[in-house]
């Protein structure tokens, strides 16, 4: 009966773990799939403590919007905090141009429209246009990036130069009409992150609620600016403190090599078990196959992100799964001399269980601390340590099940037939 249940479970797990179906997929980490891991530090020094939380969550939202608009599938944006420093961790799988992504995310993109006050109209008459700009005072208006409804890339009618066209919200359109109406014949500056992008001369009052930002943009820059304006400005400035980019080729090589190493390793372990324990070793190997299939299925169901250290964690758990069997078999050898074979089997399962339980709980505790499921900020909240610990913990959990339940029932059948 139990064997049938195990068999059904095995088939179910096999179905999930085989790549034939599309419903469950194994998520590969950035080091295997290729991609960028970026960590930004938010400068919250100018924000009052009460507002910090909301501005951080809106920071996360803005970054998420920017990344989504950039067209990256399944990005992951997380906030983290360590000793009062606020961080934003951005993971971008499969991103091809990491430099672009860093620029796109890291720029504050604070857009302000300002009126330009020339120092003195008579004195400046002799100055060139550039010099006038230098002496001019910028007076910011109440029209900012927040008044935008939408922005998109456009091309200059005359030179075909890329520019960014913006559509204001209704309120923004009214502000824009008022500002242009009051400044006919003067310049209105468009300021992005404290830098003047352009300061066109106002010819007439503009009521359509639309404007164009023309600067010396490349197409990429115009696209980026348009995304940033659409997603909104960052509520606090951020600075890149960590970047790890793995090209897709290196990732694919790592996967191929790890899989090869894993297969060779498992074959060697299986051969060793047969050499050391004969037919029992064969049972252990069957248990090992069940272990592998169940683990893979659970990774998929839990959405475990598999990284290189994660693979190492899995391989280590294979070792521990085999250990449960070895403990039982060694015990069985001892007990066999003193009692009947079937009885000896049950006794050795019972005795070995004590060591297996105590030893595996110690490992599980360590894996739990490293995986840090409660997100304690004083422990690792992301990165390789966590990936490793999660696969190790899952592996140990399943090895307890296969070592005791699966191997035990298989051995029982085996010994009955021998009789």
């Amino acid at each position: 009966m139990k064997l049938i249940l195990i068999f059904v479970l095995f088939l179910l797990a096999l179905y999930i773990s085989l790549p034939l179906q599309k419903k469950f997929n194994l998520t590969l980490g950035l080091d295997l799939a290729g991609g960028s891991h970026l960590v930004f530090e938010a400068d919250t020094s100018k924000i009052s403590p009460e507002k910090k939380k909301t501005s951080l969550s809106s920071l996360k939202e803005v970054i998420e919007r920017r990344v989504n608009l950039f067209g990256i599938a399944e990005p992951n944006v997380q906030t983290s905090n360590f000793e009062g420093k606020d961080r934003i961790v951005v993971e971008l799988p499969g991103v091809k141009d990491a430099k672009q992504a860093v620029d796109l995310i890291g720029k504050t993109a604070q857009l302000v429209f300002a009126t330009v006050q020339l120092p003195d109209s008579t004195a400046s008459a002799e100055l060139t246009n550039e010099a006038k700009q230098e002496y001019a005072a910028m007076i910011p208006t109440d029209l900012t990036g927040a008044d935008l409804a939408e922005s998109s890339v456009a091309f200059d009618e005359t030179g075909g130069q890329p520019s960014v066209s913006i559509t204001f919200t209704k309120e923004g359109g009214e502000k824009f009409a008022r500002i242009t109406g009051e400044n006919i014949g003067k310049r209105v500056a468009i300021i992005l992150d404290n830098q003047i992008v352009s300061s066109p001369m106002v010819q007439e009052k503009i009521t359509g609620g639309q404007a164009q930002i023309t600067g010396k943009f490349t197409l990429d820059e115009a696209k980026k600016l348009s995304i940033q304006l659409n997603a909104g400005a960052l509520p606090v400035p951020v600075q890149l403190i960590e970047e790890r980019t793995v090209g897709a080729t290196l990732g694919a090589e790592s996967v191929a090599k790890s899989v090869k190493a894993g297969i060779v390793g498992i074959i060697m372990v299986c051969l060793f078990m047969i050499l050391a324990y004969g037919r029992f070793g064969l049972v252990a190997n069957l248990g090992l196959i069940v272990f592998g299939v169940l683990t893979l299925a659970l990774y998929k169901l839990m959405g475990v992100v598999l990284t290189l250290p994660g693979i190492a964690g899995f391989l280590l758990s294979v070792g521990m799964a085999v250990d449960s069997n070895i403990l039982i078999f060694e015990r069985f050898k001892e007990e066999k001399g003193q009692r009947s074979v079937a009885n000896a089997l049950e006794v050795s399962f019972g005795r070995a269980w004590d060591s297996i339980r105590d030893a595996n709980i110690a490992t599980l505790v360590t894996a739990f601390i490293l995986a840090n499921p409660l997100d304690w900020s004083f422990l690792h909240t992301s990165g390789p340590v966590r990936g490793f610990a999660i696969t190790l913990a899952v592996g140990i959990g399943i090895s307890l099940f296969t070592g005791i339940v699966v191997s035990r029932n298989l051995l029982r059948v085996f010994i009955k037939e021998k009789k």
Binding site: L240, L250, S254, I369
Partner: protein, 269 residues
């Protein structure tokens, strides 16, 4: 039955020599510490000639690293890997790791003490795991000097893993000590000899299976986890050695000393 404990000073001496060599190297040469801790840039490029090359820089500003990337791109090189770590990241990693180590070690200490109802067991097991960490740290300091092996974030993971493997192995032996003491009894030395004899084959066989897996990873796995697998391998060997020969030797020695002390005090009374 083998009288394992007769040679326990030899085991501790061997451990002492390995650890002393490691400590000597740590003091004299220190470690080659990777960018994960020092901050800086490591980049790997496939050059136009088809050759893969790794470049290292100190901490760079955003503009500087952008310039490097542009230079390589203009030379027709493709980026295989680019890691840039700010100087503030390293100290944070070190702190978090120390917290993780302290918490795991104390939880293990209490778990073993609770399971075996004696601090002798808990402390001896913790000392054995400390032994394994020191062996690993020392050897990597030596490797760093001779082969340029770097201490990176994965190495930290390896240390933490070995900590749990070592305890795993020690508990199996201790478990036997506990069982034998309950059933047969006798002096601690006799019990220890019996327990070690009974678990020796299991310990070796188990280590072999793990060593097979790790050897496959070292020989066939990618370059990015080669040293990680090597660290785990050293830890596995050291952990297998330390369970019977360090953890149990310490336990027996401690027991002897405390018995002698107790006998003395009872004689005086």
């Amino acid at each position: 039955m083998m009288n394992w404990m007769k040679y326990r000073w030899l085991y501790l001496f061997i451990s002492g020599v390995v650890i002393a060599a490691g400590i000597f190297s740590m003091l004299k040469w220190g470690f080659k510490i990777g960018v994960d801790f020092t901050g800086g840039v490591v980049a790997e490029y496939r050059l136009k000639s088809g050759e893969d090359k790794i470049f290292r820089y100190g901490p760079l500003s955003k503009e500087e690293s952008e310039k490097i990337r542009q230079d390589f791109a203009s030379q027709g090189a493709t980026e295989i890997m680019f890691e840039s770590v700010g100087p503030s990241v390293g100290p944070e990693l070190v702190k978090k790791t120390i917290f993780a180590l302290l918490i795991s070690a104390s939880v293990i200490l209490f778990w073993i003490t609770y399971q075996f109802k004696s601090f002798k067991f808990g402390i001896s097991a913790t000392l054995a795991t400390l032994h394994d960490s020191l062996v690993l740290l020392g050897l990597f300091s030596i490797f760093g000097h001779f082969f340029g092996t770097e201490i990176d974030f994965l190495f930290v993971t390896a240390i933490l893993t070995i900590l749990s493997f070592s305890v795993h192995d020690t508990i199996v032996v201790y478990d036997r000590v506990r069982e034998t003491r309950k059933k047969i009894g006798g002096s601690m030395t006799e019990i220890a000899n019996m327990a070690i004899s009974q678990t020796m084959v299991r310990s070796l066989n188990n280590s072999f299976t793990i060593i097979f897996m790790l050897a496959a990873l070292i020989l066939l796995g990618g370059s990015s986890i080669k040293w990680f697998a090597a660290a785990l391998l050293i830890g596995t060997v050291s952990g297998t050695y330390s369970s019977p020969f360090v953890a149990v030797s310490l336990l027996v020695t401690w027991d002897e000393i405390s018995n002698r002390f107790m006998n003395k005090s009872s004689e005086e009374v």
